[in-house]
Amino acid sequence: MIQTRSLRKSFGLRPVLRGVDLEVAPGECLALVGPNGAGKTTLLRILATLTKPTAGLVRVAGLPLPAAAGEVRRRLGVVAHHTLLYSDLTADENLQFYAHMYALIGAGPRIVAVLEQVGLAARRHDLVRTFSRGMQQRLAIARALLHDPEVLMFDEPYTGLDPQAADMLDQVLVAARQGGRTTLLTTHDLTRALALADRVAILARGIIVFSAACRGLDPRGFGETYAAAVASVGAFNPTGALPSPERTLRS
């Protein structure tokens, strides 16, 4: 459902993604972890059609990017760093707006349903600027689910969430897996990543250095595995060269 081959992205002369090979099967949940600056957000923005790759193959929902970007967007729900909401509109107005943009007809019941799913039905007619960070993130999740997408992408969605909102998000991710949605989640929370996802991949310095099924991994030992994987691509090298592939960890 999501596939990249030799994906590269540079901003000017600065390479951010250096040949990412990634595959997420239909209905699978992949947790993508990695240090700050690894390229997680850049990768997610490419998959979400917000920016184009410099080189390489990208397919989302089985469709090639950037050629079929419009059709991919129809099948994609994204929860990003920003909530993508309008603070001077109410929760209901925000969702009505996105319902129009996604060409949904008769969206009223659907809006009520997603608001109930995220626990915001009682605040439906309140301005978003009166919401806490956690409530705004819940509404952002409702926005991403509104058009019933096949593919969901979450970019560090737990940032700034209170425990109640984090638990709600966990339930959303579990429901997404049960509903057969393909999910990509980037997070710094290794424990949550292992608990929620089917597979985990570590992105460091623009390449995937580790990939494995979560079922076989020991949550207590994964921190060491993570540190070793990140260290395997080494400290900053002025030449920009990476260590040879044999030094990277494999599943």
Binding site: R45, A48, T49, L50, T51, K52, G70, E71, R73, R74, L76, V78, A80, H81, H82, T83, L84, L85, Y86, S87, D88, L89, E93, F97, Y98, H100, M101, Y102, A103, L104, I105, G106, A107, P109, R110, V112, A113, V114, Q117, L127, R143, L146, H147, D148, D167, D170, Q171, L173, V174, A175, Q178, T191, R192, A195, L196
Partner: protein
Amino acid sequence: MPTESAPAPAQPRATALPMASASARLRHYGRSVGAVLWKDLSAELRSKELISAMLVFALLVILIFNFALELDRTGRENVAAGILWVTTAFTGTLGLNRSLAQEKDRGSLDGLLLAPVDRSALYFGKALGNLLFILTIQVIMLPVFTVLFDVNMVQPMLLLVVVLGAVGYSAVGTLLASLAVHSRSRDVMLPILLFPVALPVLVSAVRATGGVLTAAAWDQIYPWLNLLLVYDVIFVAMAFMVFDFVVEE
């Protein structure tokens, strides 16, 4: 930590408009333009951030010029056109910059770009909103001009010039503001980009306005009106073609 639970009860499914036919796609396009416009107008009606800033700036410029220039009637008719369009240019630039900057700073620009709609629909929605804001300021400015400068600024032909000029300025301004918004120095970048490109609009509008105010012959006004109209059409068409590339990161 999550646990596998019993499946949630079935929710109402989202039903999307089928896009098989050209008329369905056109209908979705129109709805998207309307949705972006409605969103901007609703937010502005509640916050009044843009309009209040633009209005205060416009009134300040008019007052300063009024006190600085002590002219007879003929002089006032000659300079009123220039003052009107200087005020419109600076006020419009203020509004254009803030309109796109808000989207970028709050992250909602990505929300628009994620929508499965031709991106030119986003352009037209934003441009129409910016046009309405500029026209709102001009509707308030024109009677103020009439009172302060003792020049009749509320005439049908003049209103036509004002509308055509605002359309052109909004069309090119929205396009260039979308380009400048990605720059760190966008407050400086937009005027640098916009003023040279919008010069034909401003010059034509000034000459046409001056012709109307001084009751010049029609054959002296018509070429400038014509130029305004042609410019509007060219820039709207150009924005339709290039907005997708401009707005992308």
